[in-house]
Amino acid sequence: MEKGVDLEERRPIYEPKIVAFCCNWCSYAGADLAGTTRLQYPTNVRIVRVMCSGRVDPAFVLKAFSLGADGVLVAGCHPSDCHYINGNEKAAMRGTFLSEFLEDAGLEPQRFKVEWIAGSEGQKFANIVKQMVAELEALGPIAEGCA
């Protein structure tokens, strides 16, 4: 989260920060395609490349939240399209478990997402980022005491 001031309205600007774990073969390629086709999306996302969404240790997600991320995205290949057969299923499994835990810990469900983005889905990548940023802006910073 970064704070600034909107000079016209003189209200603090809230810039949510999203950490996105993208698998090399599908979602990272999708993010690249968004670039080659010059789709525009907000700057709030920082992509961490991993080979497979199955590489994403729940601890990475928790670490991101505990260090101040406002949202975390785990993106992999579509079901049955995983480059490593089924790493994405494991990501989905961990995702379900993490979502439940994060909710119990008081985090809104919009803050953590697991999405399937193919290498051809540059538009989907851009849309997800746009939507997530809009949702996080509406939510505001994570409440004290959560993370």
Partner: protein
């Protein structure tokens, strides 16, 4: 329970110093310690950490037009460990690479960050570059400033610059944690698998065989030939399709280096470049290939007649058949679904007829196992099937047919012997209309691309009809004419000027049939005349577009190939690696990669063969060392990694120190799923270690949220662990 406690309860932080620690956040700062004084040459070089060089690419104006690269460089200079930060107009150019090499030598750089385009683009380039400077090639970290920053934030220059600084900070943090790795060298099998026996697959197989490599060609249909075998003549020159294709088909079947596996499916592919293991299902033909001489006596005796798919349903074939007279291999096949023997157990007329005793109704599918070094995927296309109840009434009106159906009706060896008839009354149509772009360039059905061959094949067929029946009136309803290839524009002029074919610009809005004559009236807005017209025709031909083939989709899943937005296979780079895929050792040829004509398919096939050959020409090939490793001292032998791994690479074994696991390197594909699961954090996923990823997360968040207190706690924990 808060997140930190939860992480603790999962055993995630305490055991993983990397995750708990504040790594690359300048810890002395956070802990309130004194800045370590450095000698000027060390700049920010942390005496304990590696010396890092950062190279920021302008990419002409692609990056520098949006991102303020000098700000990024200034920020990079201040990052811990950075001893050199430079900007380049084009880092990937000779000049740019020379500058990296010089800077590495001059500043004794030990880790390199290249902030430029996507690693999917130039990682190999810069790896060789730093290797030339004497560094291990895996001590490179790329930062994606183009695809994932400047190009997607071109209207927000300040914020894009801010993001670029963050991304570089992440890259530097990860670079600091990189360790040298050695690529594995594995032997290359001197053989290739070609999937799909259309003109592309045939050409690729022949070229490789000619170079001396063993080739296995797998075709799912009973014969090779693909779509080209169905065509009559070929644009723009008018050569007879089968006359130029059949000799190649025969040569392929006879070539000593080629094994043709027709009527077969690839079921499973495992392994890597150099040594792919392939399982092929040879579907039961119910005719022993070795014994069948292709005389066709069996078919004469068979009482069952069904529509021939090859003739697009216009001609008939028997339940025991070859799809077309020039089929290769010329071996008969029983279509089980229509054979009386399989339905009722009574018949076997063919068995009685065959003097060679070639027919065996008891035959079973057979699995063949192959080992190949490279794979070429040439699975072609399917044509678009018009919608039920669509505007063009393909399913409702008999006299609306597709371009490929017309090819069969014009073909001398087709069901009508080359006499064009219309389906409703088998009379020769005197007024023919072509409707272009059916199933192409149509956002409503999600097909945005141009199929590239339909303009030309309609012109070609219009010309053939005129040659057969010079008094036929022909009109082509089009949106744009795309006659871009060699000799195409000339054909366009010829059919207009010499053959009098009329070109009407406009999309037909409505087709209606005269119930008596079965002739069809097209209502269309002629946009060049700016008026709405109604014209009647005897036959309508829909120029249906090209789509990814069903067979290709199956193979795509098996090989894990990526698709482009159009659904065809995606090449590794649209310009520079047009026949490579993202997977080493797998190449594309023909329409599997996107719609194209025969010359382009053949050219691509030759390119794919050359690419595959360039790998097989060497004895060994290097494989990226992105595998996982288990630290046995941490492993407790729980076996979770074994359970998680999609490839069965981890192996639990008994040692004198108790139950432990190890990873069989040759089986590991490096996904890192095991590393994410291991409760002991005993697994290192090379190039994506916990520590490396954690350092990126920390710096992505700019250290925000890491209060001095938190960092102190973390450091303490790490020490204890």
């Amino acid at each position: 329970m808060d997140l930190a406690t939860f992480a603790g309860s999962l055993g995630l932080d305490a055991i993983t110093p990397a995750l708990a620690g504040s790594d690359n956040v300048n810890s002395s700062e956070l802990l309130g310690g004194n800045e370590v004084k450095r000698t000027p040459t060390e700049a920010n070089g942390n005496s304990s950490g590696p010396r890092i060089g950062v190279f920021i690419c302008h990419c002409g104006s692609n990056i520098a037009g949006t991102v303020d690269t000098s700000k990024v460089r200034e920020a990079a200079e201040k990052l811990p460990g950075v001893v050199a930060a430079k900007e380049n107009k084009y880092t990937c150019s000779d000049l740019g690479q020379d500058e990296i090499i010089a800077a590495i030598k001059e500043n004794k750089v030990e880790r390199v960050v290249v902030a430029a385009c996507s690693p999917r683009m130039h990682e190999p380039t810069f790896r060789s570059c730093i290797q030339e400077a004497g560094l291990n090639p895996y001590l490179l970290q790329m930062v994606n400033l183009r695809e994932q920053c400047s190009w997607v934030h071109s209207r927000e220059k300040d914020k894009a610059t801010e993001k670029a600084i963050d991304l570089v900070r992440m890259g530097v943090a990860k670079a600091a944690k990189l360790v040298p790795l050695e690529a594995r060298e594995v032997p290359v099998e001197q053989s290739s698998l070609v999937i799909g026996g259309g003109v592309a697959g045939i050409q690729a197989a022949l070229d490789l065989a000619q170079m001396g490599f063993k080739v296995y060609l797998v075709e799912s249909e009973p014969s090779i030939g693909g779509r080209m075998a169905q065509l009559d003549k070929t644009f723009p020159t008018g050569d007879c399709a089968i006359c130029i294709l059949a000799p190649k088909m025969v040569e392929l079947a006879r070539h000593p280096n080629i094994t043709l596996l027709s009527y077969s499916e690839v079921e499973e592919v495992t392994g890597f470049i150099g040594s792919y293991e392939v399982k092929v299902r040879r579907k039961a033909r119910y005719v022993v290939e070795k014994k069948c001489v292709g005389c066709g006596v069996c078919a004469d005796s068979c009482p069952v007649k069904v529509d021939n798919e090859f003739d697009m349903g216009f001609g008939k074939r028997k339940a025991i058949y070859v799809p077309f007279p020039q089929a290769v291999p010329l071996k008969y096949t029983i279509d089980k679904d229509n054979c009386i023997h399989f339905k009722t157990g009574k018949c076997k007329a063919c068995v009685k007829a065959c003097a060679n005793e070639a027919i065996d109704h008891e035959m079973e599918d057979e699995i063949v196992e192959l080992k190949v070094g490279t794979i070429i995927c040439a699975t072609g296309f399917d044509t678009y099937v018009p919608m039920k109840r669509g505007v063009y009434k393909y399913w409702e009106y008999q006299n609306v047919i597709t371009g490929l159906e017309l090819e069969r009706l014009l073909n001398a060896s087709g069901p009508t012997g080359g006499h064009l008839i219309r389906p409703s009354d088998e009379k020769t149509p005197k007024r023919v209309a072509f409707i272009q772009c059916v199933g192409s360039r149509n956002k409503k059905i999600g097909v945005n691309y141009c199929s590239r061959v339909c303009c030309m094949y309609s012109m070609k067929n219009a010309q053939i009809i005129k040659e057969h029946e010079p008094d036929t009136e022909i009109a082509v309803y089009y949106n744009d004419i795309r006659a871009f290839g060699k000799g195409f524009e000339e054909l366009y002029h010829r059919v207009r000027e010499e053959y009098g074919i009329e070109f009407i610009r406009g999309r037909p809005a409505k087709l209606s049939e005269d119930p008596e004559t079965n002739s069809i009236t097209i209502r269309a807005e002629e946009t060049l005349l700016n008026k709405i017209t109604e014209r009647q025709f005897d036959l309508i031909v829909l120029a249906t577009g090209l789509q990814p083939s069903e067979g290709g989709k199956r193979i795509g899943k098996i090989l894990s190939l990526s698709l482009s937005p159009d659904g065809f296979f995606m090449e590794a780079h649209p310009k520079l690696r047009p026949v490579d895929t993202a997977i080493d050792g797998i190449y594309l040829a023909g329409c599997a990669q996107g719609p194209k004509d025969i010359p382009d398919s053949v050219a691509q096939a030759k390119a794919a063969a050359a690419s595959a050959a360039s790998i097989m020409a060497g004895k060994n090939v290097k494989i990226e060392p992105l595998t996982a490793l288990i630290d046995e001292s941490l492993c407790v032998g729980c076996g979770l990694c074994e359970e998680m791994c999609p490839y069965g690479a981890p192996e639990v074994f008994e040692s004198d120190k108790g139950t432990k696991a190890k990873i069989v390197e040759a089986l590991c594909h490096g996904c890192g799923t095991c590393a994410a699961a291991c409760p002991q954090k005993a697994i290192t996923a090379n190039q994506f270690t916990d520590e490396q990823i954690a350092s990126e997360i920390v710096s992505a968040l700019g250290g925000i949220g890491v209060t001095a207190e938190k960092a102190k706690k973390a450091a303490k924990k790490a020490e204890e662990a």
